[in-house]
């Protein structure tokens, strides 16, 4: 790896971009994810009905021409609710992963770069954070702080900060010892500049790969919390909440649970394929699979 | 030089191909040589010339996913090893033929004690088990001069230095008293003083046991000190083979000449050093004729076809694969 390629920020993105294009599974996954993002963004125009509009006559109606995926226990259109639910899911998970990347990444780089006591204390704190099972911590935060979308994002972010801090710290430790960082210091660059310009690009590969996989985890956590009844509040549509309602009516109208389940599965497969593909292309040992 | 019956190992027309992006290319082609008991044959050439692939082909350790032997025979006491299946080869590896690798730091299993790794070689080839295998393994470690071997028997590789690990590797290779030992750059990764110790150890062991040794190296200084005969490889072809003094005194192949004049020597001026112009062609673009032709000052049209390896009229033990030089010699003879 040449010093120039290492030291420019574009490297990570370009490498991963090229990786996706040359990796069948990754590009298939990326396609699914793009479709999901589009359908979530365009939900207000794509949805044939209002996701909140109730109709007693259509309670638990099976799929029909007008309501292709049927209606839920309030007679609401399931297709519309899936589209709008995807919007909430995407919003919550993307925002929490971005915050976690930013906070966790910064903490990890700082810990690795500064080292010493600071590093030890910070990483010990991360270990404490990791001592709570992800979902249990999410449950507690939302239940205690109140079930708002903001707290949902806070809860999911809290579960993801420690892993990102860890993954950012490891490469920082090795990059810190390399010649171009020494050279930067000798030239009198500020620590901030060294961290942002020289260390960040080397950490970015790992973080982005993990970001795709954690997006899947975040969507799963959000859905799980909503399924338990402590996530997105009804009547707002969310996939987990819809599956919960479907589960309550599973004997009479199994499609209520099945359609949103399929939606989650498609997105999860897409994200995991993308994340796996990215990891393959960024890990030389697994390349050429 | 010797009767066929005395030859523990003869390689005949060995060709091994590798798959690169879906197509098969010959990494070594038509390689033939033999080694006698108590003889050391040095296999020399630049890195990537096919020395290690030759050794792995003899061992049957060419990675199956993208490599295979496409032609030739590997005769061990007259028995061809190439058609043998994996189970049959397992009985031969580490028993009749064993191998020492270049990287002592990574060649030992980090999660198994070194004594166990030595004893393991005995377990599958001899009737020794349990305490007997342990005692024999300990004797081997002492024999290769691992200090306080008894105390360190159950230590792990990370607790040993590179030189000591290479001694352990040698003990493993010697465990079943093989007829042939393949040493693939066994000293390259070591410090110079340790190198000398390990070379001395190998020479000593060879003369004790009378085994044959194929010593792979790119270091001509090492060749001069350890080899009886030398085989020179270039880009997958064996191009010259001769007794060691003969080769150093009268190199025949233009590549061998260039190789010898490219090493610094105290008895020559630095001005005599001649780097070889040009580069080895990539495996995907090898010429079908002489592979050195592109860089060769003696090139003639006939070089577009592959020359045979022929013995010189003056000395049949000196063989060379070159249209021009083989012809010159026959004429002069």
């Amino acid at each position: 790896m040449s010093v120039i390629a290492v030291a420019t920020g574009r490297g990570a993105w370009a490498r991963l971009g090229a990786g996706i294009r040359h990796h069948k599974m990754a590009s298939f996954g990326a396609g699914i994810v793009i479709l999901m993002v589009l359908s979530a963004l365009l939900a207000p125009w794509l949805a044939p009905h209002d996701p909140l509009e109730q109709d007693v006559l259509l309670r638990l109606a099976s799929p029909s021409a007008d309501f292709p995926l049927g209606n839920d226990s309030f007679g609401r259109d399931i297709l519309a609710r899936i589209l709008w639910g995807g919007r909430v899911s995407l919003y919550v998970s993307t925002l929490s992963v971005l915050i976690a990347i930013f906070v966790g990444g910064a903490l990890g780089i700082l810990a690795g770069y500064i080292g010493g006591l600071f590093d030890r204390v910070l990483m010990a704190a991360m270990d404490v954070l990791l001592s709570f099972p992800t979902l249990v911590m999410g449950l507690l935060v939302v239940a205690m702080m109140g079930p708002t979308v903001g707290n949902l994002i806070l809860a999911i972010t809290l579960t993801a900060v420690a892993p990102f801090a860890r993954i950012a710290r490891a490469p920082t430790l090795t990059v810190k010892e390399r010649d171009f960082v020494e050279a930067g210091r000798a030239l009198g660059f500020s620590h901030l500049r060294i961290m942002v310009v020289h260390i960040l690009p080397n950490v970015l590969d790992d973080i982005l790969v993990m970001g795709a996989l954690w997006l899947a985890t975040a969507i799963r956590t959000e859905a799980s919390l909503s399924f338990i009844g402590l996530g997105v509040r009804p009547p707002t549509a969310s996939w987990g909440g819809m599956i919960r309602e479907g589960f309550e009516n599973i004997l009479d109208a199994p499609w209520l649970a099945i359609f949103p389940s399929i939606a989650i599965l498609v997105v999860m497969f897409g994200l995991n394929m993308l994340g796996d593909g990215l990891r393959d292309t960024s890990d030389p040992r697994l390349r050429h699979e | 030089m010797s009767e066929a019956g005395e030859l523990p190992l003869a390689v005949d027309g060995l060709t091994t191909a590798f798959r690169v992006e879906g197509r098969w290319y010959d990494a070594i082609r038509d390689v033939s040589f033999s080694v006698a008991r108590n003889e050391t044959l040095a296999l020399v050439g630049e890195s990537g010339c096919g020395k290690s692939i030759t050794a792995l082909s003899i061992m049957g350790l060419v990675p199956k996913a993208n490599g295979r032997i496409t032609a030739g025979r590997v005769l061990l006491d007259g028995r061809d090893l190439v058609p043998l299946d994996e189970t049959e080869m397992e009985k031969i590896r580490g028993n009749a033929i064993s191998m020492i690798f270049q990287e002592p730091m990574t060649s030992l299993n980090p999660v198994l004690p070194i004594g166990f790794q030595v004893a393991e070689a005995l377990r599958y080839h001899t009737a020794l088990t349990g305490e007997a295998a342990r005692a024999r393994a300990l004797a081997l470690l002492e024999h290769v001069k691992v200090p306080s071997a008894a105390r360190r028997f159950d230590d792990y590789p990370h607790q040993f230095s590179g030189g000591m690990r290479q001694r352990v590797m040698i003990a493993i290779a010697l465990a079943c008293s093989p007829q042939i030992i393949l040493a693939d750059e066994p000293t390259t990764a070591l410090d110079v003083t340790i190198q000398a110790q390990v070379l001395a150890l190998l020479a000593e062991l060879k003369s004790e046991t009378g085994m044959a040794m194929i010593f792979i190296t790119h270091n001509l200084g090492v060749v001069a000190s350890i080899a009886d005969r030398v085989a020179v490889m270039y880009a997958g072809d064996l191009i010259e083979i001769a007794p060691v003094e003969e080769l150093f005194e009268h190199p025949m192949h233009p590549y061998t000449e260039a190789l010898l004049s490219s090493i610094p020597r105290v008895d020559r001026d630095a001005g005599d050093l001649k780097p070889i112009a040009g580069q080895v062609p990539p495996i995907t673009a090898m010429p079908s004729g002489c592979r050195y032709a592109d860089r060769c000052p003696l090139r003639v049209p006939r070089c577009a076809t592959m020359p045979p390896l022929v013995g010189l009229a003056v000395d049949p033990n000196h063989q060379v694969r070159c249209w021009v030089r083989a012809a010159d010699e026959s004429v002069s003879a």
């Binding site: 001592s131 989650i264 599965l265 999860m268 699979e289 | 994996e86 999660v111 599958y124």
Partner: protein, 313 residues
């Protein structure tokens, strides 16, 4: 090995203390007054103050903290605000259900996932490998409650092979085992996916190592090369992932217990959250964190067994 064990134990103690501290402050900073929960909205201010006094909530934070730490460290988790029964008693009632569920999932995951991962690596890019990779992708993608609902729908509701409510009848061990099958399979299959995946990629890396070639050059049979030489080394990352996965496993057990209507910590925590039973939640968090710390400790000790470089450092 012994100094290593002692060292890991000593490291676990401060982590556990830090975890308890977090639990204490987390419950205290959350909005809501436990006295309200106990007495309801209509309670008189005097009654509320009396309850607060009884709970020690009128004490300074530092006093409360010392109080909390000393009682918890004595093994006393207090009484439930809602049922007024011992928190530890309530937890102990359902703990065996959660433990048997997670342990069977762990066993299923390792017993199936490990050989499957080894086989996939040995037969890289063959049909078996593709099938195994597809399965692991599915395992990673299925939220535990979705797979649980599907298993329930297929094997309990449609086929009637297993009970819909996975509790089992008291005094009937067979019914308890029968009730365990579906939830354990649900958690176990997801675990298989994780274990298989990390085993496969770790084995692929190890199979290319020099010491594998050395083992083969000794004439060690292929089977032994794979299981002793390769897996011995490939286990190191597998142990890491299994250790990290235990947190996910506990989270998934909550979802599984809800779907299969099975007693356990999961149902207990959801009920306590809905009822805002603070002391019960404190107790549950302590128990969960204790589990994770123990799991990390076991992971570290397993490292010591698997990798001689760790235990002798």
């Amino acid at each position: 090995m012994l100094p290593y064990i002692v060292k890991r134990l000593l490291v676990a103690v401060p982590t556990l203390l830090a975890v308890l501290t977090v639990v204490f402050f987390f419950v205290r900073i959350a909005p809501g007054d436990p006295a309200f929960i106990i007495l309801g909205d209509q309670a008189s201010p005097q009654a509320l103050a009396a309850v607060r006094h009884e709970l020690g909530l009128d004490q300074p934070m530092a006093v409360q903290y010392v109080d909390f730490m000393s009682t918890v460290l004595k093994g006393d988790l207090g009484t439930s605000l809602v049922t007024h029964r011992s928190v530890w008693g309530e937890i102990a009632n359902v703990l065996p259900y959660t433990i048997e569920l997670t342990l069977s999932a762990l066993v299923i995951g390792v017993v199936i996932g490990l050989p499957l991962g080894v086989a996939a690596a040995r037969h890289r890019n063959e049909a078996l490998d593709y099938a195994a990779r597809l399965f692991s992708l599915a395992g990673l993608s299925f939220p535990a409650f979705v797979s649980a609902i599907m298993l329930l729908l297929a094997f309990a509701i449609e086929l009637h092979w297993f009970p819909v409510i996975s509790e089992g009848r008291p005094g009937d061990p067979w019914s308890r085992v029968n009730a365990l099958v579906l939830p354990a399979v649900n958690l176990g299959l997801i675990m298989v996916a994780y274990v298989m995946r990390v085993t496969r990629s770790s084995m692929l890396g190890v199979l290319g190592e020099d010491y594998i070639r050395t083992a083969r050059s000794k004439g060690v049979p292929a089977r032994v090369v794979i299981w002793r030489h390769a897996l011995g080394n490939a286990m190191i990352p597998v142990v890491t992932v299994v250790g990290l996965y235990l947190g996910v496993l506990i989270g998934n057990s909550v979802l599984t217990e809800i779907v299969f209507n099975r007693p356990g910590l999961g149902k207990l925590i959801v009920n306590s959250l809905n009822q805002r039973d603070y002391t019960m939640l404190e107790g549950l968090m302590v128990i969960y964190a204790f589990f994770i710390v123990i799991a990390n400790l076991l992971t570290d000790l397993t490292y010591g067994l698997v990798d001689p470089r760790v235990s002798q450092r």
